[in-house]
Symmetry: C2
Subunit: 87 residues, 2 copies
């Protein structure tokens, strides 16, 4: 984790869109994939980057792996921005 990984992860538009999909609910890879015109391999790669950055967590449920937004990391990033405005 760390800011470098977080910001890098968020610098890609596909990954930001994934983050937005996960805003409402946790989703299995297949459902995330359905929103994009890309191969599963590519989406899997993006998901792994988001996970490395701590922006999402995973949960296995039978056949599926659910990805879920990790809001605590979002908070940390917001704190970085907030700091810019102080004093």
């Amino acid at each position: 984790m760390g800011f470098q990984e977080s910001f890098k992860a968020l610098s890609d538009p596909t990954r930001r869109e994934i983050i937005h999909l996960l805003k409402k609910e946790k989703l299995p890879v297949g459902e995330i994939l359905a929103h994009f015109d890309m191969t599963g391999a590519t989406i899997s790669h993006h998901l792994s980057i988001l996970k490395e950055a701590g922006l999402v967590t995973t949960e296995k449920k039978g056949k599926y792996i659910y990805y879920e937004l990790n809001l605590s990391v979002v908070e940390e990033i917001m704190a970085w921005f907030s700091d810019l405005k102080e004093v």
Copy 2:
């Protein structure tokens, strides 16, 4: 401008450090440069990316060009994050 450019700009550690330097005061390129172990050409490149993204503005004063943080874009980015936490 737009989120894509902003996030890309912030995904580089040198540029984030520049942003932090500008938190307190506007600075001429030479003073920014003094904080890094890089050539002026490289720093100039980073500054142009920050400017393209709208994260900084410039002001010419005689020999010097001052770079200044643009907090309104920072606000916009924070709003993007805030949205993730709503509903």
